[in-house]
């Protein structure tokens, strides 16, 4: 079964009344991979998970599990198991009762139940917790029990709906490591939903960036981060600066662009002449004190805001002749710049990325002001 997709969605659309939650979703989840659905709240990622689990029936389209069409099958007859955002441990059962629930319902013999529950608890590092009650557990422990309760059934695919969202930051980081380890040790297929791009990067084999009920990009964390397919993906993953530029000339991967009336160099494969979006990660922006007369093609600006982030400084720079403020990050070892200080702005050409800008609906819908009047 290894060549076949564990989960396949074919043209899945979903409407709640007049609201379209998902439109024509296509997706393959490979055997044993950890795939993340990443997007802002309301992008349809949880609806998609609930459709796969069988809690919602898609308006159109098909859901296949290991090649089998399960679109019309209710949740309790699907080999999927879910870890919910809030704790859904049964309060009237102890940890053993909770973890054994699926096995008991499936009629697994007692002795095997005990053995499998023990293994599952060992997997989530909570062996010996069989007789605890859910109110005696911490938030992180509850979610680990929920993970054990799902995995003990050896599901075709494990669905995780923002399972760490309700936890404190420190526990969340520990749980991420725990999830990675559990995924490695079980080799199970994980489909993970989150709105936290940092979490998605840290966990995933592949990320599906979703927006407004549709897929924006599918790729490895490095691909999605380094070569975003859309301005939405660029902004949502990595909080990049997305700036309107005009491509002046292209020679191989070396591209000249016009930005804020300056001519700048960018390295990007496959660029074409004309309007484009320049994607610039904050950490690729270099900010320096303006000590001398600026060169003709040098970008200059004023520091508007400084925040110390432990690992470095986060700046907002009002670049001369540029409408949007530029986000920049500088290492803690660099000299701290003050608000209102005049600065020069530069970047490494290879740390940039260009996206075609055709002023389509998607770009126009973004939070950046669109500039229709850019000179050709």
């Amino acid at each position: 079964m290894s060549g076949e997709a564990r989960v396949r969605l074919e043209g899945v659309s979903h409407r709640f009344g007049d609201v379209t939650a998902l439109r024509e979703m296509k997706l393959d989840v490979a055997d044993g991979e950890l795939l993340t659905l990443l997007g802002p709240s309301g992008c349809g990622k949880t609806t998609l998970l609930r459709i796969i689990a069988g809690f919602e029936r898609p308006t159109t389209g098909r859901v296949l599990l290991a090649g089998e069409d399960v679109t019309d099958r209710p949740a309790h007859r699907r080999a999927t198991n879910m870890v919910f955002q809030r704790s859904t441990l049964f309060p009237h059962l102890d940890v053993f009762g909770n973890v054994a629930f699926g096995l008991r319902v499936a009629g697994v013999p007692r002795a095997e139940q005990r053995e499998r529950v023990r293994e599952a608890l060992q997997l989530v590092s909570l062996e010996g917790y069989e007789h605890r009650r859910s109110h005696e557990l911490s938030g992180g422990q509850m979610q680990r029990i929920a993970l054990a309760r799902a995995l003990v059934n050896r599901p075709q695919v494990l669905l995780l709906d923002e399972p760490l969202a309700a936890l404190d930051l420190k526990i969340r980081l520990d749980m991420e490591a725990e999830l990675r380890r559990v995924h490695r040790e079980t080799g199970a297929t994980f489909l993970y939903v989150t709105h936290d791009q940092r979490e998605a990067m840290a966990l995933s084999d592949r990320i599906v960036v979703m927006n407004a009920g549709a897929v924006e990009q599918v790729g490895t964390p490095a691909e999605v981060y380094g070569r975003p397919a859309s301005t939405f993906a660029a902004r949502f993953v990595g909080d990049a600066n997305v700036l309107p530029v005009d491509v002046l000339d292209v020679s191989g991967d070396e591209v000249s662009v016009a930005l804020a009336e300056r001519r700048r160099q960018v390295t990007c494969a496959g660029a074409r002449g004309g309007p484009a979006w320049l994607v610039l990660r904050p950490e690729a922006v270099q900010v320096g004190r303006l000590a001398r007369e600026a060169g003709a093609d040098e970008l200059t600006g004023v520091v508007r805001d400084v925040a110390f982030r432990g690992t470095g400084f986060q700046y907002r720079i009002a670049v001369d002749a540029l409408e949007t403020e530029l986000k920049a990050e500088a290492p803690a070892s660099s000299p701290e710049l003050a608000v209102d200080e005049r600065v020069t702005v530069d970047w490494t050409p290879s740390a940039c990325w260009l996206l075609p800008r055709d002023d389509d609906a998607r770009a126009a819908g973004g939070p950046l002001p669109t500039r229709q009047e850019t000179p050709a």
Binding site: M82, F90, F101
Partner: protein, 278 residues
């Protein structure tokens, strides 16, 4: 009442209220233990003779038996039907949900006199002979809203995600109900059934209209009092009072135990019917 708001007047009103509520009851209890047949002071000493009298009376025993039969039948039927109604209505997304719920608990506002006459006319129309069965049916109409309100409040407060989680783990509808829903609410449901039992057990007005040749305890008390002032009535009333109180205590204990069991999700369970119960 403590603090600056405390005043002598408020205290006096409180005492007067308590005396007004409980005084007559205490008098009944006291005279059920009186050694003479006199129903007025001075009190001449304690004795259990009136209790002996009622326990040896075949009439009282048969009336008590009838009351038990009717109350048990009413409570059992209410438990099943009320649970089904409340579960169905809390788990459906149908438009009829609101109106149906209203229909189920609105009879709580009907006067017993109205229920009694309406049912009497209805039974006559469909030519049903009046018996203990008609009494139980009438009591069902009367106690159902109380049960329904309590059951619905308890079921409404369950987290629907728990039932979803159970379905996700492979449990079909019935297993979800039996393994997840019922274990969380049964104490409340049994408590509410006790309340239904208590309401039915000492119900008089509706019973008066729809009972046939049989008698229940409240009917017996009433008919005896019509003829004469018999001190043994005090003993029956006292036992009736204790029994009903016991059922209310059981109801309360079960609902609050169930509440304590679900620690973690705060917000105390409101038992509307307990406050309004006669």
């Amino acid at each position: 009442m403590t603090g600056p708001g405390r005043s002598g007047l408020a205290g006096a009103f409180t005492v007067a209220g308590v005396v007004f509520l409980w005084g007559p009851l205490l008098v009944v209890v006291l005279f059920s233990l009186h050694s003479t047949a006199a129903l007025s002071f001075p009190f001449r000493g304690f004795s259990l003779r009136w209790y002996e009298e009622i326990f040896s009376s075949a009439e009282v025993r048969s009336a008590a038996e009838n009351s038990l039969i009717v109350a048990t039948a009413t409570a059992a039927t209410t438990l099943v039907l009320g649970t089904l109604a409340a579960y169905g209505l809390t788990r459906t997304s149908s438009r009829a949900r609101g109106p149906l719920a209203l229909l189920f608990f609105l009879p709580i506002t009907l006067p017993g006199l109205f229920i009694g006459t309406a049912l009497l006319v209805a039974f006559a129309r469909i030519e049903v002979t009046l018996s203990l069965a008609t009494v139980a049916a009438a009591h069902l109409v009367y106690v159902f809203p109380f049960f329904f309100l309590i059951a619905r409040a308890a079921l409404d407060r369950l987290d629907p995600a728990l039932e979803e989680a159970a379905a996700d783990l492979g449990a079909g509808r019935w297993l979800v109900f039996r393994r997840v829903t019922l274990p969380q609410v049964w104490p409340v449901l049994v408590g509410a059934a006790c309340l239904a039992f208590a309401l039915s057990f000492d119900e008089f007005i509706i019973t008066f209209f729809v009972i046939g040749p049989d008698s229940t305890l409240p009917m017996f008390i009433w008919s005896t009092l019509r003829r004469t002032i018999d001190p043994s009535i005090n003993a029956i009333s006292t036992l009736l009072l204790l029994f009903t109180l016991l059922l209310f205590v059981v109801t309360f204990a079960l609902t609050s135990w169930s509440e304590r069991r679900r620690r973690g999700s705060a917000e105390p369970l409101v038992v509307p019917a307990l406050k309004d119960a006669p």
